[in-house]
C-alpha cells in the first residue's frame, strides 16, 4: 500500500510569507507526528495527533507554528510570517495504534519523504 506522502517536497518562501505543508498518513493510522530536522541534526519533535485530537504540541517553537488534522487523516502544518531560522526539513510520520498504548503491539513510526523549506 501507499506510504506517508508529503507535499510540496520543496518550498521556497520569502521571509514573512505564510506556508502550509501537507501530510497524508498511511490509511487507518491513528497517530500522526510532525518533526523539524535542521541540516546535520536529528529530527526534533513538533507535535502529535491521535485521530483529530492534538495531544501534544509542546515542540512547536513559537505561536507562528500551527498544526491541524480536522478529520483525523490528512494533517497540515502552517507556519506564519516565516523566518530564516524556520528553514529545515519538515517530516511527518504516522503509526497504527494510539501511541500511548504500551506492550508489544506498539508499532513503529513510518516517515514521509519530508518537505524542505527554505526561507530567503
Amino acid at each position: 500500500g501507499a506510504g506517508v506522502s508529503q507535499s510540496p517536497r520543496y518550498k521556497v518562501a520569502k521571509r514573512g510569507q505564510d506556508v502550509a505543508l501537507r501530510c497524508d498518513p498511511i490509511s487507518g493510522h491513528v497517530s500522526l507526528f510532525w518533526y523539524q530536522q535542521a541540516l546535520g541534526q536529528g529530527p526534533e519533535f513538533l507535535t502529535y495527533f491521535q485521530n483529530e485530537a492534538q495531544l501534544d504540541k509542546s515542540g512547536l517553537p513559537s505561536d507562528r507554528f500551527f498544526a491541524e488534522r480536522p478529520e483525523g487523516s490528512v494533517s497540515t502544518l502552517k507556519i506564519q510570517r516565516t523566518q530564516q531560522e524556520d528553514s529545515a526539513v519538515y517530516l511527518c510520520a504516522s503509526a497504527s495504534p494510539p501511541f500511548r498504548l504500551a506492550g508489544p503491539r506498539f508499532d513503529t513510526q513510518y516517515f514521509g519523504p519530508g518537505t524542505r523549506l527554505t526561507v530567503l
Binding site: Y35, G42, F45, S58, L91, T108, F111, G112, P113
Partner: protein, 109 residues
C-alpha cells in the same frame, strides 16, 4: 527532560571491519528505536526494541537494549559500502519521540 546521546557522531570504517554505535538516554524508557537515513532521504525504521535485554538482528546490523543502563548498541559486522548512512536512535516519552543527534557512518574500501 529526556536527553538522547549517540557516540560516535562520525564514524569512518573500512569495509569488512566491525564496529559499535552507542546510544545513551537520560530517563527511564522500556523501548527504543533505531532508524537509518540516507542523504536527502527520509528515515527508515531498522529496529524496534521493546524490552530490557531485547536483541534484534537484520543482516549485518544487530541492536540491543539495556534499560537498566539506559543504553542501546548498534553493532555492525563486516561493514559494506551500502551501510554508509546516518543512524539515529530514538526514545519515546509520553506523546513524543526524542531522537539522538545521529551517527554519520562512512564505509570506505
Amino acid at each position: 527532560e529526556l536527553k538522547v546521546e549517540q557516540n560516535p557522531l562520525f564514524l569512518s570504517m573500512q569495509e569488512g571491519k566491525n564496529y559499535t554505535i552507542y546510544c545513551n538516554y537520560s530517563t527511564t524508557s522500556d523501548r527504543l528505536y533505531w532508524y537509518r537515513q540516507d542523504p536527502g532521504k527520509s528515515l527508515e525504521s531498522l529496529f524496534v526494541l521493546l524490552s530490557n535485554g531485547a536483541v534484534k538482528q537484520e543482516g549485518r546490523l544487530m541492536a540491543s537494549l539495556d534499560t537498566k543502563a539506559r543504553l542501546s548498541t548498534l553493532h555492525i559486522t563486516a561493514a559494506v559500502h551500502d551501510l554508509s548512512a546516518t543512524y539515529f536512535c530514538a526514545v519515546p516519552l509520553y506523546d513524543k519521540v526524542i531522537f539522538g543527534p545521529g551517527t554519520s557512518l562512512s564505509v570506505i574500501p
